[in-house]
Point group: C2
Amino acid sequence: MATIYEVSELAGVSLATVSRVMNKNAKVSEKTRDKVLAAMKELDYKPNTIARSLASNRSDSVGILVSELRGLFYSQIMSGIEEVLRASEKHVIIAAGHSKETEEIDGIEFLISRRCDALILHVESVSDDYLIELSKGPVPFVLINRHIPEISARCVSLDNEQGGYLSAKALLESGHRDIAYISGPLWKMDANERFKGHQRALAEFGAHYDETLFFEGDYAETSGEEGLSQLLNQNKKFTGLVCANDYMASGAMSKAREHQLDLPADLSIVGFDNIIFASHLYPKLSTVNYPLDQMAKATANWVLKTVYNQKIEKVQNLFQPEFIERDSVVPVQRR
Amino acid sequence: MATIYEVSELAGVSLATVSRVMNKNAKVSEKTRDKVLAAMKELDYKPNTIARSLASNRSDSVGILVSELRGLFYSQIMSGIEEVLRASEKHVIIAAGHSKETEEIDGIEFLISRRCDALILHVESVSDDYLIELSKGPVPFVLINRHIPEISARCVSLDNEQGGYLSAKALLESGHRDIAYISGPLWKMDANERFKGHQRALAEFGAHYDETLFFEGDYAETSGEEGLSQLLNQNKKFTGLVCANDYMASGAMSKAREHQLDLPADLSIVGFDNIIFASHLYPKLSTVNYPLDQMAKATANWVLKTVYNQKIEKVQNLFQPEFIERDSVVPVQRR
DNA sequence: CTGTTAGCGCATTCAC
DNA sequence: GTGAATGCGCTAACAG
């Protein structure tokens, strides 16, 4: 592979000049520029990004850390970010943290060591303190789907509590009072807040919260299936079910049919996230919209604005969920 | 951030020694190693990956190029690869090619410029010749979901033709003869081969292929909806529908219900890919399994074996599809 | 086993 | 506007 040195030789200029035409900043006479360009073309010269990063301490790439590479949720984050960054000729470097503290830290350090200009983090296991400390370091970062008051300007998050409230409310307004809940892992902030919102709605409507009608899943479809099975096996009556995400709702729906339940007549279900498949389930799943795409784009814009000094209007930090009514909730049946 | 130089100073050794303990290869006495380790810890030293890559021409990271960051298909590829690579302490750098030639080339060059030790490519627009040429270059790569005879050792692919054959066969064996087809973009190799397999099955069963019962979609759910609408609006009878992927099948199912069709009685449907949601659709979608996860892992193993010289049994190049029977196909109804 | 010496390919002062 | 010199942080011979 050709180096800048060979180009400069072929063009008959110094390597500093070649560097200048590459970076378009300093002034170079049109004639020399053309000579250099021609030489670059002839040698099929490709700048070595690594060397450039080392010398300039920039990399034109931003690091993304997600919990998993798998699944619609994270792919939405990644693609949303990549789309806006790509438009500004920035690249992304992606790592996965697998919701484990050591791996999350590992991932962050990897991204930093690759000299990412900025980081966009979806982290769940690392402590607030760690992140606050990190914010004092030299590498700028934004958090997606997490809110830490001390560094709230770097957080782009959803009002999960309100989302939990909305999903329960939809059921309550349809007359349901016996409502089961399949939760995400409660140690995760979002799962916790969604559940709190759920309880707030219940209280507001004077509905009793029955703790035996609760199952803590892990956000995967399978735990939706498992959850519903367990709930059903108690032989306690419930006419409504809220799941803390659409994946689990989907699993619960499959399992409900296995138990010969007629959906939605026998059981009204609501999900959370509004992943694209929600509207392709049968019955079409009523759910809470998680404007992930916009949020992902917001984090990317934060980076463009903060790190690359692009003039961008204010970046929105807190997003509001919205209930999406479809076909999976019907008024409670009187017998 | 501390550099290797500061560490060597604090530890009272040369910087070469520090480098040695970092890379664990050359022999260092236990005593000096401990001194160095202590110094590293005290300074919270983090090696600069960039500098290391520049000096060693390695990066311990492999580049992945997928068409899109969005969607279950690609997230399966990425996560499958990352899982096995991570276990060997290799990192991944991901770029998206958006199925456009210029962007795919761009992505490949970016990954190369970041000094990836190897590349795993899911490319669709770049020509065979380009790839054959690339294979003569210094950067090793494997292709996933594409077969090029000249470099078949670097290809991990699925027998898509056979998959297309299997999906049609399932319908044919259930007595269906009037079968509509919603295809992927025919310029894409896989879509093309799936369609060929479809026709082979038709011919084998002596079923007539009606070209008005064909719709070329783009693999997205929306084109499944659109496709079914168009097919239905012709007022031609068909009792079976094969979709070239599950996403489109899902869209078609939603649309079928809008048209008051009773599934699967009025229309038997088969998909392709067996993405996780296929079994959560209603009726559960019969489809062709695409062992993407295994294939992704195979590419990663190819890299470990070929590039990092790990001893790994032979990597499988050609994978076979398999029909997964669920509930969306029923014997044709006689009236 | 350990230290010295050169670069890796490029950006960036500083002169001219 | 252009060139020469220096260093980014680290690896890799080569000596000792």
